[in-house]
Every structure is written in structure tokens, then in C-alpha cells.
Symmetry: C2
Amino acid sequence: MKNADYGKLVDKLIELNYLGSAMSVLHWDQEVYMPEKGSAMRAKTLGYMSGLLHDMFLSINDKRLLDRLRKTVAKGKTAEAIVVRDVLRAYDREKKLPKKFVEEMSIVCSEAQTVWAKAREQDNFALFAPHLKSIVALKRKEAKLVGYTQSPYDALLDVYEPGMTSDRLTKLFDELKARIIPLVQHHRKAPTLPKGPYAIEDQRTFNAFVAKSMGFDFDRGRLDISSHPFTIHFHPEDVRMTTRYREEDPMYSVGSTIHETGHALYEQGLPAEHFGTALSESVSLGIHESQSRVWENMIGKSKGFWTYFFPHLKTTFPKQLKNFTLDQFLAYVNHVAPSFIRTEADEVTYNLHVILRFEIEKDLIEGKIDVDELPAIWNAKMKAYLGVDVPNNKLGVLQDVHWSGGMIGYFPTYVLGNMYAAQFYEQAQKDIRGLEKQYAQGKLAPIREWLRENIHVHGKRYSAEDLVKKVTGKKLSADAFVHYLENKYKTTSRS
Amino acid sequence: MKNADYGKLVDKLIELNYLGSAMSVLHWDQEVYMPEKGSAMRAKTLGYMSGLLHDMFLSINDKRLLDRLRKTVAKGKTAEAIVVRDVLRAYDREKKLPKKFVEEMSIVCSEAQTVWAKAREQDNFALFAPHLKSIVALKRKEAKLVGYTQSPYDALLDVYEPGMTSDRLTKLFDELKARIIPLVQHHRKAPTLPKGPYAIEDQRTFNAFVAKSMGFDFDRGRLDISSHPFTIHFHPEDVRMTTRYREEDPMYSVGSTIHETGHALYEQGLPAEHFGTALSESVSLGIHESQSRVWENMIGKSKGFWTYFFPHLKTTFPKQLKNFTLDQFLAYVNHVAPSFIRTEADEVTYNLHVILRFEIEKDLIEGKIDVDELPAIWNAKMKAYLGVDVPNNKLGVLQDVHWSGGMIGYFPTYVLGNMYAAQFYEQAQKDIRGLEKQYAQGKLAPIREWLRENIHVHGKRYSAEDLVKKVTGKKLSADAFVHYLENKYKTTSRS
């Protein structure tokens, strides 16, 4: 490879990332601090910047830079070859999308999101339906433009989980579904949390303490409030998380804080010196989700973890939690019960919420079902998988923002995250003895460093598939996750 | 004028403003919420975006669009002609600056600001001096590249106060100086504010109440905290202000909130439908400052204003202010006393702080003095104008951020703002009878609407010179401001 060409490429990638990072600041601000009436102009600004980024990205190939580099990297294992291949992969996709298409998508989704918010508030699916139809049509067009072998859904999935196919997903999810549905039957009534209020300021202090204990570096990030919790990185030196609060339930914010801190540790653990290139990027959304889930569930719902943190929580809320025991608290945190809202579901039923969405969106993109049928299909699946009757679309098909934002192919990564997480954690437990005993002493560094060394530091050097194999010695399967759930929910007494 | 060409121009201006607005979000975030270690990458991001904006701005003339438009607008009075002339004015300046020069300036200033902060903290002028020398050299080069008739300083001043010259400023300021220095002798000891603490949360609530009462629309803006108060607009629908707090003195934050709200009302009052063009922009920094100063001083230090707000302040801090009367409070707010720090100076001595800076920076740019002489010159002028002995450079020449940021030619607009403000306010008092009586009843709408109709709605339609003439019937002079100060500080009893 000509070093001069590679140097030029990296310079251009860094510039693109400056612009992308600026857009991320705007997205963050939009969700966290932007005043209400700033939204129309912000949508236009971000729309314009998307088009600019598209143009700038394609212009990398000016003077045939990429064409020259392409010849040199076919199967190379060097860092340079990995970076170049990652750019080519994105470039080959992006160049198939006309700028007008990119802009239209941005505008249609921006409008759809506004309408969706209103439709959800009014429980009015008919209001949202025509917008969702436009999005599905655009997404089908995108799949066609990009190209695919088996299902058009694969062309969309590939953006979020490179290399994954709907065929493979269907097999993984069918197995998971079959083994999880019986587990849901085991659920028992959870103890109720003692009555609050739990002052939000005190919850914030506790959350900051937990995030810091997990290893989040507040000199390189923040924790704010937004209506939907999220983590966004501008670069490894500035990673922003959010959570949300309910005065009557501190775990509503604590659980999401642990989850987001898992994401944020991944971002803060990426090598900053490779900023702009694949070596400083996360592998896939599934791997990203594995980092949040391993902390939220495997670690953050364990007895060891709360042996250390529950006394701190009690110190924060001494009156409210006076007569609540650690065992009662663990039963509360780990209770399983079918519910309507995905984001509030327990770690067992959660997967069924997601699989349902995957099945529906795949059928939509393959043209097997129509948008107008969604409420009926949704409700039938909820009955079949979770045994519940969805009372309205607000608590059903209208609950998630994803489809209105054009994010079709995104949902499966949530369950993939659970599977990756369980498989990684199974290995970590082999590599480090007595993990839970360490948590009980407040020692979270060993597990954090294990995740960092095995996953974070590599950036996108390995594909998700290769990374899982490298770390665990096995291909991705549902086994580890199902074992984890079965062990926990078939044996734990939750009286 | 060909409509198609004008339409193309406006489209491009709007795009430029999207990018500029994105940069403003990054600047705001940097001062308000960015974590400490995000600064290096943020500087690079903004540096890159400055260069991009420079290129994009110059590219407006692709296919000779500007050359064609130039021929059509020579002296036209239409909105289109005004917009085009404003673009040409900026374009003719910008095209003289090589991109490398723009980038170098950005990098040198970014470094200098970091060093300045350290130098100020350590009271170490020698540390900062070499950086300031580089900046002065670059600024002299900028003046040379841009061109000027009399003083190179005029080429820099023109960016902030279009049309103003150092010659004219010198005359205005010399007169002001001569008439203000005697006023400083009249000062008496101010009453001290009752001991606090004044809880910051309560101050924040009070500040929001004052800003809202003044007419600030919180659906189209925010009020946050930063170490140096400022107002920044992304567009008229999203205007952000900041202030800062001291527990022992609520007026430290209230005064700056009133000041920033004056700026923000101007931005919120600009016509949003002309976003991107001169018709939606402020006239000059001097006119901008007039809007903050008229609220902060003429209105916000008046007896009428506090007749309404002081009871609210007392309700907010009932224990602390129990035995403090309105007259005592007014004496506190309006006390005059020489001090070292410009940003904390009263409305009389403030002007001398600024004039001193103008004289120094003008001599620097004209090559009459050297950076190494600054501390001595600064301290000598402070003694001559304010009668004080500056104890160290931290309280002297190192106090302001401006020079380290390359903002030379900016300071004079602070005093111009006072003069414009006084001249506008003199006219407002003629146009609306009994202004202070209205304030006493909490009626701030009449003065706000007067400012909006006479100044805000015009955007940059008139030059500062023409606007003052149009609104007050007179050319800008020091008279109104000196009369205002003399009336207030020669007669008011401040026992």
C-alpha cells in the first residue's frame, strides 16, 4: 500500500468525523436541552448536514484514491487494510444512494417522527400509518438500490449488524423464543418497592456514584436527563449519557444508568489515537448492546453487585428503605412479568418484545404484510408470546420511535446484544474467578478491564462473528443466554 | 436583478447559516456543558469547520454568481440589494484571506486561549506574552491583507462595527473620557448588601422570572450557567443565554441576566423568515450591546424597575432582605467606585476600562508599542483614569479573554453600546410618556416593543449610523450618554 494514499485517506476520514461529531452534538442537544420551538430549524440543519456528509464521503474517491487503495488491501490483516476495507464497505453502499434519496429519507423521517409523537399521544394509528407507509416504501427502495442476495431486509440489517442475515437471525430467534416462552410461565408476583417519594436529586447523586464506580470518567463525559435514555459519543474523550427519573421508583433511573454506562464504557474504552478510523469505532450495534446488557443484567442484577451497592442506596434513602432487605430488593430487581412496554420489560420477556418487532418489520420489508394490518398482528403476537391483551396502540404498536425514524433492521441488535453478552460473560467467569465476590467488595475494575481488553481496545478490528469466536472460542449461539436465564429463573427463589 | 440568481444566493446563504448555526451549538456546549477533556478535540472540530465555512462562503461565487449580482445592486434600496451588498462586503474581505491564514489564526488563538487561562491563574504575563505577540503579528497581517485607508486598526474594527473608524472613535472616546473622569470623583461608599447566603436555586428562579417578565421566550431559548456570561443564537427560534452565580450576592447574577436578556430579546426579535440573510442579522456589536445596556442600566437600575421587582426579590429572600429598603437597594445597585475588573465595574467607570483597552490595542496594531510594555502601560492608565494602583496582572492586563481569542477591535463596541443605548433611550422616553411608572407596575412590554419596532425588526437593513439617525434624528454622539450619567450621578443622593 502506498503510504501517501493511506495518509490522505486518514486525513479525510478525520475531517468526516469532525463533521459527524458536530452532528452528534446537535443530536444530543436536541434530546437534552433544546427549547421546544428550536426543532424545525434543527431538523433542517441536520438534514442539510447529512447531505453534506454524504457528498464529502463520496468525494473521498476524488482522483481515484479509493480505487487505488482497493487494489492493495484485498485480504490483508494489517491495521491499514482493515481501515481501508471498512471505508470501502461503507463507500460501496453509499455511492448507490443518490443524494436526493438521502435527503428525501431525512425529510420524510423527520416529519414522520413529529407525527408519530402526536399519534402515540392520541393513540391514533391511522394518523401515523401513511407516514409509515412512505418509510417502508423508501426502505424497500433503499434495499433495492443497495442490493441483496436473499431478503431485502438483509440490506437494511447490514447497516446495524454487518454480516448478519435475516435467515440466521430467524434461526437464532426461533430457538430463543421456544426456550424463553416457557420461562415466562414461572413468573411470580414481585414484592413492591416501599413507597417514596425518592427525591430526584438524591437519585442523581446515587446514579453518578454507580457510574463512577463502574469506571465512567466524568472528565470525559456527562450524565444528563432526556425522555428516552441514550448514549452518544462525539469521540472517546467526550461521551454523553442520559437517563430519566420517576420519583416513586429509583430503579427506573438506576437500571437505565447502569445500562447506558455499559455503552459509555465501550466508547470511552475505544482507542482515541485512531479517531476517525474503524480502529476507533464499535463493531456493531449488537456488540454495543452486549456491553450495556452485561452491566445492566448479568452484573447489575447480581447479588454480588447489590451486596455492595444496596447499603449505599439505603444510605441515600434511609427512611424509605428502612425495612427493605437485600433479598427483597433483589427479588424486586429480578422479577419477571409480562408487560406492554418493551423499554420497561424484564430481561426475560424483553426478548419476546424484540423478536415480535423483528418478525413484523421483516414481513413489512418483504412485502408480506401491509402497514394497516400492524395493530392486529402486533396484538395477536403479544397474546401468543406473552399471553397479554394489548388494550390500545399507545401501549402497543405505537410505543417505539424506531420505525418513524427509519430505523428498520435495528431492533434485532437488542436481542443479539443479550446473546453476545451472555456468551462473553460466561467466558469472563471462566477467566476471572469469583467475580461476584469482587462486586460485593465494590471491585468492578477486573470485569471492566476484562471487557476493555477483550472487546473495547480492538475497535472494529474484528467482525462481530470473529470477535465472539476469538473471545469465547465459539460461534454465536443462543445457548449461553438461555442457560443464563434458565439458571436464574428456574432456580432462584423470589419469595 | 435576476430573480433566479438571487434565489440561488439565498439558498446558499441558508446553507452557510446551517453550518454556522451548528458551530454555534458547539461553542455553546463548550462553555456550558462540555467535559474538561473534550476541549482538544472540540478545538480541532471547530478549526476544521471554520476552514470549511471559509471555503463554502467563497464558493458562492462559483459560476460568477456574485459577479453577476454585483452589477445589479450598486445603490438599490430594495431588500434584495441590501442582502446582496452585505454578502459582497463580507466576500470582498474573506477572499483576501488565504485559507491557510484562516486556519493558522484559528490554531494560534486556540492555543493562546489555553495558555492565557493558565497565565491568568498563575499571574504570569511572561507566559502569555509570546502568544500575544503572534496574535498581534497575525492581526497586523490580516489588516494588511484586507487593506485600509488610515489605520490598520480600522481593518479589524470593521468586522465588529462596520463603518466605524479609529479616528472617529478616538474623538468620541476622548470627549467621553474627559467628561466621565470627574464623575468618578463623586463616588461614595455603597451600602453593603445584607449577609447571605442567597441560595443559588432561588437566584435561578428569580432570574428566570425577571427574564420572562422582560419578554424572553423560554420556548425559544434557555438560561444556563457558564463562567463568563454570554448570549448566543442558533437562529431566532433558539437563543441561549448564560449567567454565573455567587452565593453571597444575588445581584452578581441578576445584573448579568438582565444584560444577557437584552441581547437575547434582540436575537429573538429578528425576523425569522429572513433566516440566512442580512435582514435576519444584527446591525453591529455596538448596536447589540446597546440592547443589553439599555436593559441592564437605563431600565434595570431605575427606581421604577425595582419598585416592581424588589418586593419579588424580598419574597425570594425574605430573611436576608428583611430590613433592607428599596432606597438602600437602589444605592447598592447604582454605586460608583473604581475597581480593577471590567466585568464587575459600575456603569460610569466601566467606560474607562474599555477606553484604556482601545487605546492600547490600537497602539499595538499600529506598531507604536510592544507587547512587553503592556503591564506598565496598563497600570499607568489605570492610575491616570481611575486613580487606582493595580496590584498584579491577574487583576490587570491578564483579566480579559478577548486578545487571546484574536478579538482585537472588539472592546470599543462595549462603550459604543452605552452611547447608542443612551441615545435610543432618550428618544424612547420622548416617544412613550411615563416609562418608569410603567415599570413600577411591571409593564415592560411598551419599552420592549419600542425597541423591537425601532431596532430589532429591521435586522441589518440600516447601518448603525443610519439606524441611529433614523430612530433619534441625530448622529451618534457622546451627549446623551454623558447627560444620562451626569443626571444620575451628580444629583442622586446615595446615602
